[in-house]
Symmetry: C2
Subunit: 90 residues, 2 copies
């Protein structure tokens, strides 16, 4: 059993309203970045967990997304491995 | 001038309180994932912008983080290139 850090990115599906993204988009334009055309805001979630190997850690994180972290109707998610953590097995 | 999509991840600095992460951590443990040791929650921000090249797009996104997107006292940020968008130059 090793300890891994997983990064999950949850973002609003294309076409769905994203008021936080709209607000940041407007602010960036107001601050002078006229070349910004769109901003979408989601969540970046970092999970430290025990798993037998990298594949098992990624699989577990995918299940967490479907059960808790992402709204399947309005959000998409991506799961990536950050790496194994030192001091694992404690 | 091409159009690029940049991904920015803003996360709470290590050691700082993260109540949203604590809540997700507790929920995951309650749902049976006993092997989850820590959860941190930040923002994933996707920015579509015009820039001369990839380096200029990344540079602009870094400035946006320092001026607006991240709190320099409590948050760290990472900027990565997602890629050039098709239909650019319009």
């Amino acid at each position: 059993m090793s300890q891994y850090r997983i990064e999950v990115r949850v973002k609003p599906r294309p076409g769905l309203l994203d008021p936080q993204g709209k607000a940041i988009h407007h602010s960036l334009n107001s601050l002078g970045w006229e070349g910004v055309h769109d901003v979408r805001v989601g969540k970046a979630i970092y999970i430290d967990l025990d798993a037998a190997d990298e594949a098992a850690a990624l699989e577990a994180a995918g299940v967490m997304c479907r059960k808790l972290l992402a709204n399947p109707v309005t959000e998409d998610f991506e799961v990536t491995m950050v790496g194994a953590l030192e001091g694992a097995g404690s």
